[in-house]
Structure formats: C-alpha cells, structure tokens
C-alpha cells in the first residue's frame, strides 16, 4: 500500500469513465495551426477502481447474491453503475494498465482487516471498518492503476463525449493557467475555439491526465475566432467582429472564470485579428497588421485600460514566458523578438529580427539534439499524417524542402525548461516535468500540402509530437484570420531550396507563418545571440532594418567606416606634428574611494573618483567630480558639477572616514553622495580639495561675512553660509536647500553670532570659544585656510553605556537577564549591545582620555553605587530600590578627546551651557555700545559679558546675574529683552536690561505652556519663541513694548529640536525628522515661511540642509531684501536660468555693498 503515492487516492475517482471526444481530428485550417499542449513526461499512473459489493444472508453469510433491488455486485462507488472487473476499460488508447486489480485494504485512511471489507446496514449507507451485528451488507474496493502512456507522441484526444456536446472542428487552441496562484501542481487550462466560433474548456487537464476529461462549452456573447490563455489568469479571445473578449474571475477555485468583458479594438475600422497574452501583458494584431500593446493589464484588471500602437507590422505575435514577445513580421515574414521587455517596461523597446540562417538550418535539420542543446527551437508546424514520430533525418527529401528549424539558440541565454533527451524516448517514468508549452514555428513555404507527409524532425524532447491526421485542412475561413490568405498565397515560394548548392543570400530567408515562445524562458536582461550572425551589425541598425536588410546596412557601415578611416589617414597622417588648436590645461585628481551605492542593498562599493578642474572660456573655473563604478559588470559613472554642490559634510562613522556631498536635489531627496576614504588623511585631502573647488566656483572665499548663518552638525563640525538677500524675501524667499554651506575648522556644540561679527561657541566640554576672524583650519590647509587666527582647539565628551541587571530570588541582582531582556551592557535604548571593551569613540578623530567610570549624574538619581531601579526594562528609573523593582541599571561614562584647529580662542575660565548675543536691529549699525552678550554657565548661573565689541569680541569680564534656581537657556532680543529658561522648564523675563544697565534689575516668572517643560528660548527683534522638551515650538503671544512678558504661549509646530529667531524675526529651526524622497533625515535646517509682521508665526516650513544638523544661528543675518532690489535680483536670477551659482554671486555682491570684512 505504502508504495503508492497517496495522491492517487486523493485523485479520488472510483472507476470513472473517461469522456469521449468527437471522432474528429484536432486540426486547424491550412496555414494556421499551433499546438501547445503540456508536455508531461512524468508517467503518472491513475487508479481505475471498482467496488464489489456483498450482502449478508443468514445462510451463507456475506455472499455475492444480492437482493433484486440491490446494487450491482460490481459497481462504481455510487453503486449505480455495473462495473465488472473485466469490464473496466481504459479510457482511451493512450492509457495502459500498470498493474492488475488488487483489493484496497485501507478504508478512510486506516487499514482494515478481513480483506478490505467495510460494512453497513444496507446499501447505500455509512460504511464502517468493523463488522457489527447489524451489518447486512459489505463492500470493498478494488483498485487497478492505469497511466497515460502516450508521451512523446501525438495523442488524439478521445472522442467519447455526448454527441450533442461535441465541439466542431477547432480553430485555435491555447494552454495556460499553470501558474494560477495556489492551484494544484500540474493543473493546466486548455481552451479551444471551434470553427463555429464557440469557446470550449477542457476539464481536468493536468500532468497525470494530459488529455483531460471532457469539453465544456463556454457561453460567449459572440463568435470567437482565436484564443490566448496566459500562464496566470489572463484569457483573451478575439471575436470575428473584431472585438476581444476578456475572461474575468479566473482563479484557483474557478479556472474557467466567471464572466466575459468586451474590449473594443483600437480603431473601429480595423478589428482585432490576433491576440496573445502573458502574465501581465496583452499584445494584439489588428486587421491592418498593426501591433498593439494593451496598457494596464493585471490580475485585477484583466481588460487593461487602453491600446498603445507599437512599431512594425506583424502577422502574428506570441507572448512567451516572462512576457517576452515573438512575432512574424508582415513585411518579410521574418521572425522577430521583442527586445527590452522587462518587468518595468513590459512593452519592450524594439523588434529584433532573429537571424535564421539556412546553412545552419541545413546542417542541423533533422538533428533534434542540436536543437535541444539550444533549449529552444523553432520547428515546423505539425502537418501531414502518420501516427508515429518520423524523424526526418531519415528523410532527406523532406529536409531539403523544408526550411525547417531555426538557427539554434545559445543555451546559456535561455532558461532551458526541460532536460534535453532524444525524441525517441517515449518510455514511462523518464525525466522531469515541464509545464511549459512548447513552441512551434511554421514557415509558410511548406504550408498546404495535399498529401500527407512525414512530420518534422525537430521534435524536441519535452514535447515529442506525433502527427495527427488533418482531414479538413485547407478550408479557409470566411473571415480573415491572422494572415491566412497571404500565407497560403506564399506557398508558391515553397520550392526554393531544393537542389541549390550555393548558400542562400542574406535577404533570402525562410518565410515564417507562426511562432510560439511558450517554452522559451528569456531572462529580461540576458544577452541574446540570436540576432548577430551577420558580422558587424550594430543593434540599432538592425532594429531599423525592417525594410533595409542587415546585409545592406552592414555594407554601408563598412563603407562609412572605411571612408572615415581614409579621411583620417588623409587628413592626419602627415600632420600629426601640428599643434592642437586648443590646449587647455586640466587639473585632475584621481583616487580610489568607496561610495555608498544608490541601489539596494545599500553598501559601500569601491569607486574610482576623478576631480577635473578646467578653466571655462569666461575664465571661471569649473570642476566636475566623476565617480566611476561598476554594476553588473557594466562600467558606469555619476558626475557632479561642483558649482552645484551645496555642502560637503564629514559623516560621523565609527569605521569609515566618510563624507557626504549635497546638491539642492540631493538635499530634497535626503540622499547625498556618500564617499569614504581609506585613511583620515585621504579623506581630509579630498574634503579640502572639493571644498576649495566648490568655494572657487561660487567665488566664496575668505572669512565669513558678519551676516553669515552659522550651524553645527551632530558631529560638532561648524558650517557657515552666506545669506543671499532674498533669503528672507517675504514674497519669494530663496529655497533654503540652495544655500551653500562651507565648513570652518573647529569643534563646537553651540554657536551664536551677531551681525557685528561677534561669534561665540561652546564646546561639548562646555568650554566657551570666541571666533577670531580666521577661516579654514581643521582639515583645510593652504589656500582654504587663513594663515593667522587659527589655533589648536580641543574638545572632550563622554561616551555613555549602561550596565543592566535583573533581580532573581536566589542570587539577587545579577547580570543574567531573561532571554527576552535587553543586552546586559547596552546603550541607553537597550537595543544596541555596548560593552566596555567593544565601545569605541564616536569617530576616528576621537581618542579615549579616561577609563570607564560610573556616572552618578543621570536624571532620576542613583543609589550609592550608581544604580537606578525600575520594575522592568524599559521604564522610568529611580535612584532607590523598592519591592517592585526587578531590574536596575547604571550608567558608565568614558571621556574621549578630539584635537583639531580652527579660528577659535578659548574664553576662560567659566564653562558655559548656553550663550546669546544681541541681534542688531536692521539699520542700527555699530552705535558705539558694547555688544550685549548673555550666557548660562554649565552650573546654571546666568552671566552677562561686559566689554564685547567688534574689536574685542571676547569681551572683558563676566557679570553674575543672580537667580533662584539653575538656568538652562538664555536669549537676548534686539531691544535688550532677555528671556531665559530655568532647569525646571519654566521661563523668565529679565526686566530693565539696557546698554546702561546691562544686567537689568529683576526676573519675571513666565509659566511654561501647560504640561510642558521648556528647554530653549530665542528672541529676535520682537518675536519670542520657546521650545519644550517634547519638541513643540511655542510663540509668545501679546508681547508689546509696554508689556514685554506677553500673555500666552501659542503652539506653532512640533518636531523641532532647536530654534533660532533672527533680527528680522525670521524663524529657523533644526527639525527633528524630515522625510525626503529617499530617506528620513534627523536634524534638518528648516526655515519658517510666511513670517510677516501681521503673521509672526508664519505658515509652513521650507526644508534645507540635513540631516545630522544640531544647531543653527540665524541671528547675524539682518539682510533684508530691499523691495525693488529683491525684484531686480529675481529678474537677474531668472535671466540666468537658475544657474546655481546665482545666489552665491548675488550674496557676494551684497557683501561688497555692505563692506564685508575681508582677509
């Protein structure tokens, strides 16, 4: 029993009679015809079954003598049909018994005793395995296996159907459906169209039962002409009237589909003549031979949306696997392959003729092996008589007459769907299954032959054909069908090759009538070699050559090239010593970097990089950065014009010396070009060089102007941007992704500036720094750096890791957590394992300067050992242990140090947490007052700096301003309004601050917005903005000169990390998250748009450089676009057609007009 595969039982037919087929041949009218039947090589026995029944009688026990009313002693499972064992016949000639009858000793999946009998009270009833007292009848099942034997041969579909249901002669046949989702393996949909225009579906076709069981007539709204069934659920039918029918609702449970939809032809005068469907494509030919591609076809919309006319005229097209397309051109009857069909471009690019040379045809004709080795073949249509496969290599005359199979196709380019084997192999149990219909191509030259003739030799292994009688072959349908009249007309050409000794001319190719690519899987990107037998034919030439022959084109090409070569020889050979007309010096730096590739999966790939600098005819230097990479063994490059680059940003990375290159476009996409160098020196060289080139092309050099916008990345790198006058133009502000940022040496966490050139910074270690007026430093050497005012700068920061423990009753707190727990050594989130040994400084610039030590200053407090307790991870931690606490953690810190250089000098000795410099009112130039500068120390003390001026930006001394509690943030507005945020999250306003009373007189407490703790405040000309710990930005409503504290907080935005309000009351922030087209970026510079005197809160955000930005100070930019000037500038800019250098040049011009400080 167990030797039988179970699926035979699941097939579950109890001795079923196979339906008859009409005693008519499977045939097509002359000149037409295509056979694509699944090539099932697997020999699958099917059980034929019979069930003998017995009745118990008191005398003889169970015996075969039944009651007169009983069922047959031998019956099918229903008992209604008499089926003696010797009366069970094979369904057709194409089946054979595999074994003799035997008793099925299983019942309901379980073995039975006593010879497989099952018992019941009476027929028909529920049978049980066990004989009971009331069991009056019993039955058992006899099984005999049969298998389909007609493999590798043409098998007539048996004709035993009900005569009333007989299909008339077939007109077209299509097989598909083998990839309908989740359907049983091996199931196939076979559809046919009869001459009367009816559509038939063959039931139960599968690999074990390739002939199926019966024909079902499908109702159609009109008479069908031709049918095409795709591997999935597409089924299209053409109607004699020229429309197409589309079957809807085809699925696993309903392979026949549910309803028809009508698709109108592209033009009403030319109906659809032929259609071919694939997985998600439909191609059609109309009566005027035009080729059409149906747009928008998919499973959900099998009808598609519209027709697109394609190039070329074809007599037929055929869609093969992967939606690849073959066609027979109308013009020259050559076979064409649609090149460039990919999942994204299903309509492909061009028709390419498949070169089918006849010499090879001759040498290969009849040799099925050579064809098979190609994995694809183009053979003859089946025609003529003979039940047996007649290999034509034994039949020379038919060879000579028959153009025969195509040039073999290189095997490597194809996905060979089956094992090649000899066509004579017809035995059972061989080889593997193939589900693909094979292809048959028929040259028209041999079309109508009145007498039967032997079949072609090209019978492939997978689909070995046996020829079938063609009894009514030459009947031309009354309606025009797929090139039929012409096809038959071409038969006059058929005598061509006989007896010719010379090879045929190139234009003298076989005239094909039918092609099917259904067995030929062409990978979308594979390079096919079917096209290039002729030498030196370039692809585009050949695609053009629908009417110009390849030979002609090749000759022309040769001639053109020859003439060119002669010309070159004539004009150059004796004159090579002449000078070139223009010699332009180009400066090239090349190197090898790594590039973060822009395809998925993203990774670092090695690239060759070249920076080319040359002088344009206007004297300006242009530079292009080329990045050469290899993808899929194809060399490609991207290039960036450096005058379009908006920022070059070193990227924080533990392992790589990397930097990102932004253009406005890439800023919008949040996808910079990321490059990495092998060494720090290498990266610095590139950064300095690229940066210098960018500055040169924008004519930006020297120290930043006093109005410059300063910003800092999360890495601590300092960037500065020259504001264009239209940056704050209320009507048409410059998009801030166009701002050009250049780096200034040094390392800071906070930078604040005012328009008199006073710039202060605060390091990660809270050291206060003042800007010296230099530029460059850091990695910028030479021209990119000022020769003086550059000093060594160092910064120190701590790296934190967490030690996590869980309590258990036996050992108390241990470092053994639950399996689901976080790492026992982790980062603050617990998601990343961070051990003391494995944790590295944040980047390669940093080095450790201390050992790990416990950090007791974490929020929430700690116990004496630094532990914080909580009920579980992750939770809020507290500094003492309670009964409910099962986990604890403590924070370890380790200091690392970075040493760099930049235009910064330390302002000793007080360490600062925040600093703010008074923004100068527009128009108010240096009026002799010292520059008001307020700060908060790292301890939370409020300080006021005295003696700050352009000449002495560091000031002279600190004035301590008393507070009740430690402060966190401070900001002074243009009118000496000082706002501060205390560590408890509330705000304060300092009264009576003036040049004469620089420290003011007293603090006014301002409550924070409800349930929010403020963390930062920024005051511009009049506007007051504050930021809370949850990233909400608040505008202070009701601020007037007489009541400077204002009345209430109004919510402006969330998603804000840092705010800077400038002297024009312009609002800039660092946004927390910004979604670009390529990725998310955290820390993005954003500009509030629509800020007007009557609408100080603005309207929306304009997104600029980022992510990775931490801080911005807009407070030095009091450059307001003059009304008229702003329009002029706009005109100028549009006149330049948006040359990216425009804004920078304008900015440069503006600087001059304002008298910038130049070194």
């Amino acid at each position: 029993m167990s030797s039988r595969p179970s699926r035979h039982r699941e097939a579950g037919q109890w001795a079923r009679a196979w339906p008859p087929l009409p005693a008519r041949p499977l045939g097509r009218p002359a000149g037409e015809g295509r056979l694509g039947f699944p090539a099932a090589e697997e020999q699958s026995p099917r059980p034929g079954r019979s069930a003998p029944a017995q009745r118990w009688n008191p005398v003889g026990g169970f015996c075969e003598k039944l009651l007169p009313s009983d069922r047959w002693p031998w019956s099918d499972v229903s008992g209604l049909q008499h089926r003696p064992l010797d009366g069970v016949a094979l369904p057709s000639l194409h089946w054979e018994w595999e074994s003799d009858w035997y008793v099925d000793e299983n019942f309901g999946g379980e073995p039975t005793e006593k010879g497989g009998w099952t018992y019941a009270i009476d027929f028909p009833a529920t049978y049980t395995r066990d004989k009971k007292w009331n069991s009056c009848v019993r039955r058992r099942r006899w099984i005999r296996y049969r298998r389909y034997k007609s493999r590798d041969s043409w098998a007539k579909i048996p004709s035993k159907d009900d005569p009333k249901q007989l299909p008339d002669p077939f007109n077209d046949l299509s097989v598909g459906g083998w990839e309908i989702t989740d359907e049983p393996v091996g199931r196939l949909s076979v559809w046919a169209v009869s001459l009367q225009g009816k559509v038939w579906y063959r039931e139960d076709v599968s690999h074990p039962n390739p002939e199926g069981s019966s024909w079902s007539l499908m109702d159609t709204p009109a008479e069908a002409a031709q049918i095409s069934c795709g591997p999935h659920d597409l089924l299209w039918v053409t109607l004699w009237e020229g429309q197409a029918l589309v079957r809807e609702g085809i699925s696993r449970n309903n392979p026949k589909g549910s309803s028809w939809s009508v698709v109108e032809p592209p033009t009403s005068e030319n109906g659809i003549m032929h259609v071919s469907v694939g997985v998600a494509v439909v191609w059609a030919i109309t009566k005027d031979r035009k080729v059409w591609f149906r747009r928008g076809v998919n499973s959900h919309n099998p009808c598609g949306t519209s027709w697109i006319e394609m190039v070329g005229e074809m007599t037929m097209v055929n869609v093969g696997l992967n939606d690849q397309v073959w066609g027979i051109s109308c013009d020259d009857r050559a076979m064409y392959f649609r090149q460039g069909v990919t999942p994204s471009e299903l309509s492909g690019k061009t028709w390419k003729a498949i070169v089918a040379g006849r010499e090879s045809d001759r040498s290969h004709s009849g040799s099925s092996l050579s064809l098979l080795s190609a994995g694809c073949f183009f053979g003859d249509e089946v025609r003529g008589s003979g039940e047996s496969c007649a290999p034509s290599d034994t039949d020379a005359s038919s060879d000579a007459e028959r153009p025969g199979p195509d040039q073999p196709v290189p095997a490597e380019s194809l996905d060979c769907p089956g094992d090649p084997k000899g066509s004579s192999a017809s035995g059972p149990g061989t080889s593997r299954t193939t589900e693909h219909p094979a292809e048959v191509a028929s040259p028209a030259t041999q079309t109508p032959r009145p007498e039967p003739r032997p079949g072609p030799a090209c019978t492939p292994a997978e689909v070995p054909w046996t020829n079938i009688d063609l009894k009514e072959p030459k009947k031309t349908p009354s309606h025009p069908l797929a090139g039929l009249p012409e096809t038959t007309g071409l038969s006059s050409l058929e005598v061509l090759p006989l007896g010719l000794e010379e090879p045929y001319g190139a234009d003298d190719h076989p005239l094909w009538a039918w092609v099917s690519g259904g067995g030929c899987a062409v990978e979308a990107h594979s390079v096919l070699k079917w096209f290039s037998v002729q030498l030196g034919l370039s692809p585009s030439v050949q695609t053009l050559s629908l009417s110009i022959t390849p030979a002609q084109t090749a000759a022309w090409r040769k001639q053109v090239f020859q003439q060119l070569t002669e010309r070159t020889k004539r004009e150059l050979e004796n004159f090579r010593h002449y000078e070139q007309a223009v010699e332009q010096s180009v400066w090239v730096k090349t190197g090898t970097l790594q590039w973060w590739c822009n395809w998925k999966p993203h990774k670092w790939v090695d690239v060759r990089v070249a920076l080319e600098q040359f002088t344009g005819h206007d004297g300006a230097r242009d530079s292009i950065l080329f990045i050469y990479y290899v993808v899929h063994e194809e060399k490609k490059y991207i290039h960036v014009f450096l005058n379009e680059v908006t920022a070059l940003v070193p990227v924080l990375n533990e392992a790589k010396h990397s930097f990102a290159l932004y253009t406005p476009e890439r800023t919008r996409q949040r996808w910079p070009v990321r490059l990495a160098a092998a060494t720090e020196q290498d990266m610095n060289d590139w950064l300095a060089l690229l940066s210098l080139s960018c500055c040169e092309s924008r004519k930006v050099h020297g120290r930043p102007s006093p109005q410059a916008i300063w910003s800092i990345t999360c890495k601590g790198d300092i960037f500065v941007s020259e504001p264009s006058p239209d940056l704050e133009d209320p009507a048409h502000p410059l998009p801030c992704d166009q701002m050009f940022w250049r780096q200034v040496g040094g390392h800071l966490r906070v930078v604040e500036a005012n328009s008199r050139g006073v710039v202060w910074g605060i390091g990660y270690d809270h050291t206060a720094w003042v800007y010296t007026g230099g530029y460059g430093g850091g990695c910028f050497q030479g021209l990119a750096s000022s020769s003086s005012n550059i000093y060594t700068q160092s910064d120190v920061k701590s790296v934190y890791i967490y030690e996590n423990q869980r309590w258990n009753p036996v050992t108390g707190y241990t470092s053994r957590g639950l399996p689901t727990d976080r790492y026992m050594w982790s980062d603050a989130t617990g998601l990343q394992e961070c051990t003391k040994a494995s944790t590295k400084p944040p980047s390669l610039q940093w080095s450790w300067v201390s050992d790990w030590s416990i950090d007791f200053s974490v929020p929430g407090g700690t116990d004496q050992e630094g532990w914080q307790y909580a009920s579980d991870f992750p939770a809020s931690y507290h500094g003492y242990k309670t009964m409910k606490d099962f986990v604890r953690r403590r924070c370890w810190a380790r200091k690392c140090k970075l040493v760099t250089s930049g235009p910064w000098l330390e302002v000793a000795p007080i360490a600062l947490g925040d600093v703010s410099i008074i923004p100068e009112s527009p128009g108010a130039s240096g009026n002799g007052h010292s520059v008001a500068l307020w700060a908060v120390s790292d301890k939370g003390d409020v300080l006021c700096r005295l003696g700050v001026s352009e000449l002495n930006p560091a000031g002279s001394s600190w004035l301590h301003v008393g507070t009740d509690q430690p402060f966190a943030s401070i900001s002074i507005g243009a009118c000496y309004q000082v706002w501060a945020v205390a560590r408890d999250g509330s705000a304060f306003y300092r009264g009576s601050v003036s040049p004469s009373q620089p420290a003011g007189d007293c603090w006014y407490h301002i409550p924070s917005p409800p349930k929010q703790r403020l963390k930062q405040v920024s005051v511009g000309q009049t506007a007051v903005y504050a930021l809370d710990e949850n990233g909400n930005l608040w505008y202070r409503q009701g601020v007037t000169p007489s009541y400077p504290q204002g009345s209430s907080w109004e919510h402006v935005s969330n998603n804000v990390r840092r705010v800077s309000v400038g002297p024009l009351d312009q609002v800039w922030v660092i946004a927390n998250k910004v979604q670009g087209s390529h990725s998310l970026s955290r820390g993005t510079v954003c500009h509030r748009t629509g800020v007007q005197p009557h609408e100080p809160k603005g309207q929306g955000w304009d997104y600029g450089i980022g992510g990775g930005w931490d801080h911005i100070s807009i407070r030095a930019n009091a450059t307001r676009a003059p009304r008229s000037a702003s329009q002029e500038t706009a005109g100028e800019r549009s006149g330049e057609q948006g040359l990216p250098s425009g804004p920078a040049q304008v900015a440069g011009a503006l600087q001059e007009s304002l008298g910038p400080v130049c070194c």
């Binding site: 370039s538 629908l546 060119l564 010309r567 004539r570 150059l572 002449y578 010699e583 332009q584």
Partner: protein
C-alpha cells in the same frame, strides 16, 4: 549609427591640418610666420583660434587690430558653420594643409556675423541642437533636459577641441575618452526615439552647396516612407536635391563619409 562607437569616435576626433597666414595687406611690425594647427572638424572656428589670434597679434600694433575673421581663397569663412563643413564645402579638393587667410581689418559685414564672444557660439550651437530636436522629437527631449545637461553637452563639444596636458599620458587618454562619453551621455538622449516609433519624426538635415546661391536646403523629411520603407540618404538627396546625385546613383552616403544622422548632428 548612433551606437556605433567606432564611427562616432572617428567623427568626433576628426581633425583638419590647417595653415593660417596673415593677409598680406595687414600692417605688421615684423613678418608674420604662418601658423599651423589641427582644427577639430566638430567645432567652430572662433572657438578654436585663440592661439592663431595671439600668434598674429604679437606682430601687430594694437590699433590695427579689430575683430578677427578668416577667409579661404577669397571666401569669408562663416564661423557659425562647423569647421568640417567649411572644409568639405570649400576646400576638400585642395591639397592639405588647408590654407586659411587671417584678417583683422575690413570685416565683411555682409558676409559674416560678428562673434563677440564664445557665448555667441554656445548660443548658436544650442539653438541648432534645439532646432534639430524640434524636428526629431517636437523638442520634447531638449526641453526635459536640465540646465546642467545642456551645459554638459556644450562642455563636451568644447572639450573635443582640447588636448589635456597632464602628467600622465594614460590620464590624458582617459580624460579624452571620458569627454567623448560625457558628450554622448547627453547627446544619446537626443538621438534616441521611442520604441513604438520607427525613427525620428523628421530627420534634421541641411544640405550646403557651393553651386547655388541658397545658403542651404532644409526641408521636412520623415525617416520612413509612406509605405513603411526606411529612407536612405540617397532617397533624401533624390527628393530634395536631385542635382547632387551622381549619375551612377549610389544610394550610400558619400558626403564626408557620414551617414544621415551624423550629418544631422553636425548641422
């Protein structure tokens, strides 16, 4: 033949050996030596003659110098014609090098356009490209291009004409090749047509003849005939300029050894 690199390269790197001589009536302080140069065929005279200008200006007085212009055997050379065209049109039968006379005086206002700067050349070149694209693709391709693509095209053309002095020969070679690629990376877009169309809408061409007064012949010409046959250059000439065809009626393109599309590109 847009993807036939061999042909494209030969067109691209075509050079004409030229001897520049100062016009005899120009006043010089000392004798002006002739100046020999390899002129790129695919460029414009005023784009590549900086050296010539410098060379002759050295022997002239400043006040005698006005706008430079060139003449060959009495015919002023139009700077807005490609150099290769000028040569083939006027001098292809003469011996090499091509003898061009240099003038600094008496600008032939009625024959030549002024060329105030190289921007004028760029403007002219770009307008030709745009005109050709209007014929080929209803301007769709050129309009979809970004400013930087235009620039790359122009820079590519400009740099055809330059040799790159660099320390390493290898680098020079590569840069040259890159420049060619750089031009074609953009120009290819201009030379493509959609798969469903059998070629450009119209073939952009101009036929220049010395034998007629007309500056050139330009007509709308589709690449494919009404019957679907592809047109050849021979068809084009037969239609628009039958007189140009030799009696033997060779359908292959003869002029400059360039095919229709390359000619079109040159225009």
């Amino acid at each position: 033949m847009t993807d036939d690199k061999d042909v494209l390269r030969d067109v691209w790197f075509g050079r004409i050996p030229t001897c520049f001589t100062l016009y005899q009536d120009e006043i010089t302080e000392r004798e002006a030596e002739p100046y020999y140069l390899l002129l790129p065929r695919v460029s414009y005279l005023t784009l590549v003659t900086d050296k010539v200008k410098k060379h002759f200006q050295k022997v002239m007085r400043q006040e005698d110098i006005s706008e430079i212009w060139f003449e060959y055997e009495g015919t002023p050379l139009k700077w807005h014609y490609p150099i290769g065209l000028l040569f083939d049109l006027l001098a292809s039968s003469s011996a090499l090098p091509w003898n061009i006379t240099v003038h600094f005086k008496s600008f032939p206002e009625k024959d030549l356009l002024h060329c105030p700067s190289k921007d004028a050349v760029e403007a002219h070149f770009m307008s030709c490209v745009k005109e050709a694209d209007a014929l080929k693709h209803k301007s769709q391709v050129i309009n979809e291009m970004q400013k930087k693509d235009h620039k790359q095209l122009w820079m590519g053309l400009q740099n055809v004409v330059s040799t790159w002095s660099s320390q390493e020969i290898e680098t020079t070679q590569r840069v040259k090749q890159d420049r060619f690629d750089q031009f074609w990376a953009i120009n290819r877009k201009l030379m493509e047509y959609p798969a469903e169309e059998n070629g450009f809408r119209y073939i952009p061409f101009r036929i220049y003849q010395t034998t007629t007064e007309r500056p050139f012949i330009q007509k709308l010409f589709r690449p494919v005939a009404a019957d679907g046959q592809l047109h050849t250059l021979g068809d084009l000439l037969r239609e628009v300029c039958p007189s140009a065809l030799a009696p033997e009626d060779n359908p292959t393109p003869k002029r400059q050894g360039l095919d229709v599309q390359a000619c079109a590109q040159k225009v």
